[in-house]
């Protein structure tokens, strides 16, 4: 694999006396996909928000290597730089697309938001870029002016995704992106994610409790139980030959 772009060392966070995340180390390469699996409450989403720099850890640190090849410590990074990175080099896809989509802003407005935040000032070009992205993820470009509240769940999720991809990020963090969609829509979205990963060379971290999703998209997997990483490795290796009792349970319960 190529250069590492994200590194976490000894990451820990407590909610009161509860250890939500404890002593997590990880490293992600350019273009690589890491899945974080575990049951509800195991600290997956908390870990993701720590990796995104959205929360400050109590222990450890997260470092990100930007386009110019400079390592930045996300815990000490200035808020201004963090927002710039979040808009240019990162994407963050949430489980509930509605929570990130504004009902009074059209699809084109959502896709153009990052561009306008970076100084795009040509309406026609912003709208055209939005349409190109819609076509790329099999959305009807003629619906660019519609409110996302008129879109289906799968379309809303795709809209959320391309609103992130429009500035060509290098790292996309996804929190349960396919949960809550029906099976056929899920399958289509997964196909799309797989394709975009390859086309754009995206590094992705995907939080999921669905082993099928992890198996399809990820190169590596982390298994979390009660805030700790209990097993890690290549996806096929971990799922075909699980070592930790929890992973064994997880794998058998699916198969």
């Amino acid at each position: 694999m190529s250069q590492p772009i994200l590194r976490a060392q000894g990451l820990g966070l407590r909610y009161g006396s509860l250890r939500a995340v404890h002593n997590v180390n990880l490293s992600l390469d350019e273009g690589e996909c890491l899945a974080i699996v575990g049951e509800s409450g195991s600290g997956k989403s908390t870990l993701l928000s720590l990796l995104a720099g959205q929360q400050q850890p109590h222990e450890g640190e997260v470092a990100y290597c930007d386009r110019s090849g400079m390592w930045l410590n996300l815990n000490t990074l200035d808020e201004r730089d963090r927002r710039r990175l979040a808009r240019t080099e990162w994407g963050f896809v949430r489980q509930h697309a509605q929570a990130t989509l504004h009902p009074h802003v059209s699809a084109g407005g959502h896709i153009g938001e990052r561009l306008m935040g970076l100084g795009a000032r040509h309406y026609g070009e912003i709208r055209k870029t939005a349409q190109q992205w819609m076509a790329r993820v099999e959305m009807d470009p003629s619906r660019v002016d519609e409110s996302p509240s008129r879109f289906s769940g799968g379309m809303q999720q795709r809209l959320q995704l391309i609103a992130n991809l429009v500035t060509s990020p290098r790292l996309v963090l996804m929190d349960e992106p396919t949960t809550g969609l029906d099976v056929s829509v899920q399958a289509k979205l997964l196909d799309l994610l797989k394709r975009l990963q390859e086309e754009l060379g995206l590094a992705t971290i995907i939080v999921t409790h669905d082993l099928g999703v992890a198996r399809l998209l990820a190169d590596q997997v982390l298994v979390m139980v009660r805030g700790e990483v209990v097993e890690r490795g290549l996806v096929d290796q971990v799922f075909d030959d699980p070592q930790h009792p929890y992973t064994q349970q997880l794998v058998t319960s699916v198969l």
Binding site: E79, S106, G108, G109, E113, G117, R121, D145
Partner: protein
């Protein structure tokens, strides 16, 4: 003058507090400065912010003009003008050129302002980002980081829905190429008058407890798109009373048959033009 009240109604400590906030506002063009807004003898929404700013800047030599929707003779304008005449004994006027302080709601006079004049705006909602971000903590952070993309999204949506930037009043501006500012609910027709004005512009929001300012000769740019540039309102007809074709016009119904006329909203400018011709 009513002897038992302090000059301009507010006590000296309060006026000093407001003036301190105003000095800070002038030093940071467009930046909203909090101040300890007082209860005033009129309800919120009627100009409590503007009236406190006016009270803080008025001196015994000042000449005050008050307009509401451009007119000197509407209830709000008449009452505020009389209030200050009673509490200060200073001279008042309806002529823009004679005034040193002009308190306004919704308009900037047509007659060009000059150095030494102070405009005081009554502001209902000082925060231009409020529509997209309801949390004040976050809007303050957006200002600090100059994270103004969402404001552009609002204009994008205007074009998407109406084919043109339909925002016609309270049209957002960048002050000094640095701070995003709400120019108060003036029509966008008046936005160009803020740019490089020789007069000092002060804005007061009583309910929201904020003041802000545009110092004289400051750049004020209305936001727009390269392919949808900022434009002010134009009317096909001239004022039915004075014949001006370069003033902001209001539509009024003049009889029971629903006959409409377009007339100047600035009553002083309209009268001045009638006198000339």
């Amino acid at each position: 003058m009513t002897p038992q009240l302090p000059f301009a109604y507010l006590d000296d400590q309060t006026k000093r507090m407001i003036r301190r906030a105003l000095l800070k506002a002038v030093a940071l063009p467009g930046h909203q400065v909090p101040f300890a807004s007082r209860e005033m003898p009129l309800p919120y929404g009627w100009g409590t912010g503007g009236i406190q700013v006016t009270a803080a800047v008025l001196g015994p030599e000042d000449v005050l003009k008050v307009i509401d929707q451009g007119a000197d003779d509407t209830t709000n304008a008449v009452n505020i003008r009389r209030f200050f005449a009673l509490t200060t004994g200073i001279e008042t006027t309806t002529t823009t050129a004679e005034a040193t302080v002009i308190q306004t709601r919704h308009r900037i006079p047509e007659h060009p302002l000059k150095a030494g004049q102070i405009m005081v705006f009554q502001v209902p909602i000082p925060e231009p980002l409020r529509w997209i971000e309801p949390r004040s903590e976050e809007t303050r952070r957006m200002h600090a980081l100059r994270d103004y993309g969402p404001m552009q999204v609002k204009l994008y949506e205007d074009i998407t829905q109406h084919g043109t930037i339909a925002t016609s009043y309270d049209y957002p501006v960048m002050v000094n190429e640095h701070t995003l500012m709400s120019p108060s609910p003036i029509p966008k027709f008046d936005n160009p008058k803020l740019h490089q004005s020789p007069a000092l512009m002060l804005f007061g929001a009583g309910r929201e407890k904020r003041v802000y300012a545009v110092p004289p000769y400051t750049d004020v740019r209305s936001l727009d798109f390269d392919d949808y540039p900022f434009e002010v309102q134009r009317w096909p007809q001239a004022c039915a009373i004075c014949g001006a074709d370069n003033h902001y016009l209001d539509e009024i119904i003049v009889d029971d048959a629903g006959t409409r006329e377009m007339v100047c909203s600035d009553t002083d400018a309209c009268r001045a033009r009638q006198d000339q011709t």
